[in-house]
Assembly symmetry: C2
Homo-oligomer: 316 residues x 2
């Protein structure tokens, strides 16, 4: 059994590669819900949906979010009515948000709803929210606290980041299936995807008890660097690192994950950073980490699984 921690777009690519290589049921994907938010009265879970749609083969490969070939009648009509249109929702995608919100209001847990959706969409691996309780990632900037989706989409990641708060995290219980997977004697490895540490991975790690459990892990933990050649593969990560006084480098990522990492897969471009990574007591692995085609996603998954084999010796 392999446990994966991931955010949305970037991480979902690796998750797809892993899903293609591993037997159905052997992969548990724990997805960040810190950037979930309410929009037009609907509960939107961007990372969960991206992972779910990706594994269902329905994701839009161009945008990274939403459904491939979706239509935009709803958005057009909403604009005409003067509704909030800064966050784009496709017609088919909307069914996910409307039905999820409806079930949440009836008292169903996000995890149960997600399991139902995954079954309906023929997703054969286990996709779970990090928690059934709401957590809101807030960006601190110039004395303000900005809701993450507001920061990312509406404000186009322009405000200068001074830090992050995960609102509600102290009362959020990690999803039971996540805790079970962490304690599973069959757990072979924990993979941290090439997602943004601040807004995708650290909210998961910040859940009560998770950092401690990860520190006491009996299976290797390996991360894939989301920074390649001094830039973020996607999104505002490099900008955030700079604003927080760090280099846009896999070394900074390894430092951020200090105490949790056994190994880190870095891109061939960053081969020169092997020793700096190793100096942090993290075993470096080199691979092609840019994934566009499905072939590249599977190839990286293979490299990660091979690295786990190497690290496994310390645990077994």
């Amino acid at each position: 059994m392999i446990l994966v921690l991931t955010g949305g777009v970037g991480g979902a690519k690796l998750v797809l590669g892993l899903a293609r290589r591993l037997e159905p049921g052997s992969l548990t994907v724990v997805v960040n819900t810190g950037d979930d938010f309410d929009h037009l009265g609907l509960r939107i879970c961007p990372d969960l949906d991206t992972v779910m749609y990706t594994l269902a083969g329905l994701a839009n490969p161009e945008t990274g979010w939403g459904l491939s070939g979706d239509s935009w009648g709803f958005m057009e009509a909403l604009q005409r009515l003067g509704g909030d249109d800064w966050f784009r929702l496709g017609d088919r995608d909307l069914a996910t948000h409307v039905e999820r919100t409806h079930r949440l209001r009836r008292g169903e847990a996000l995890s149960a709803i997600t399991a139902g959706f995954c079954a309906s969409l023929d997703v054969t691996h286990t996709v779970v929210p990090m928690s059934d309780d709401p957590v809101r990632t807030m960006v601190r900037s110039s004395g303000r606290r900005i809701d993450f989706q507001d920061y990312l989409v509406r404000l186009r990641a322009e405000p200068v980041v001074e830090g992050f708060d995960y609102e509600g995290i102290q009362h959020a219980r990690p999803y039971e299936g996540f805790l079970t997977a962490l304690q599973d004697p069959q757990l072979r490895a924990i993979i941290v995807c090439n997602s943004n540490p601040f807004v995708s991975i650290l909210p998961i790690v910040a859940l009560p008890g998770i950092r401690e459990r990860l520190s006491r892990r009996r299976a290797p933990l390996i991360a894939v660097s989301p920074i390649v050649g001094g830039a973020a593969v996607k999104g505002p990560l490099a900008k955030m690192l700079g604003e927080l006084g760090r280099d846009a480098s896999p070394v900074a990522i390894a430092e951020i994950y200090a105490g949790l990492l056994d190994g880190m897969v870095i891109d061939r471009t960053d081969d020169g950073l092997r020793e700096a990574i190793a100096a942090l007591d993290v075993q470096p692995f080199i691979a092609e980490t840019i994934m566009t085609t499905e072939h590249e996603k599977i190839r990286l998954a293979d490299e990660v699984l091979r690295a786990i084999g190497t690290l496994g010796g310390d645990y077994g």
Copy 2:
């Protein structure tokens, strides 16, 4: 100024005819909200939307509900997720329901939301809900009470009707603009559209104080019969009348509106019922009341306005 009381599909046709004939602003259309309901967590107002879409020139002429040329991506995706699909919502139509529900939850009144939507859709006449407070029309059948939309759509109007309850009606305040219009010295006439009395018109009349105000009216009240040649123009009205021990006849409609009617427009087919109508102290007017084309809607509007001219003498 002319005040119109109406339900959805049938009445909206006459409303359109009147709107084409009267100056913008001179028509106030009070719409039944007794069949409003919550579906998938969204507030659906079928009659309000039908009237609004009809006046905006956006209504689907084939179904009588929804938007012309709408797409069905949402419904397809919802079905795949196992959502409730007995009530069909088009992609563009959905924007109305999502945005309305969102604004209602923020505390806006249904009347204000409707006014905003009408402005966005370039509806130049005034369309108002009968009340901002929720009223639910329930069908009594075999000792059960069935929500009207459930009865009409899901159960296809099959249960035998024993009566109707307008749940919440005793605490529902008539919309202020409705009361104002009733007291307006400029009020020239009140028109009751050819809608179903039980589920479209009587909920409006049953609002606290409305029957009394209508009885004390200083402008003539004229209805258009929704029964033509022994059948309902649309929907289960003839079946309902039969189950309630009444004939499917304009005379039964005049009896149901007893004490409120000054005149009634009946179809040429029912010319033989003139005297029976007159015997109820209701002045009969003959017209072609079946409306398919816009021309026919305007022609009937003209006949109704002419009848008002005749009745007007009693009021002056």
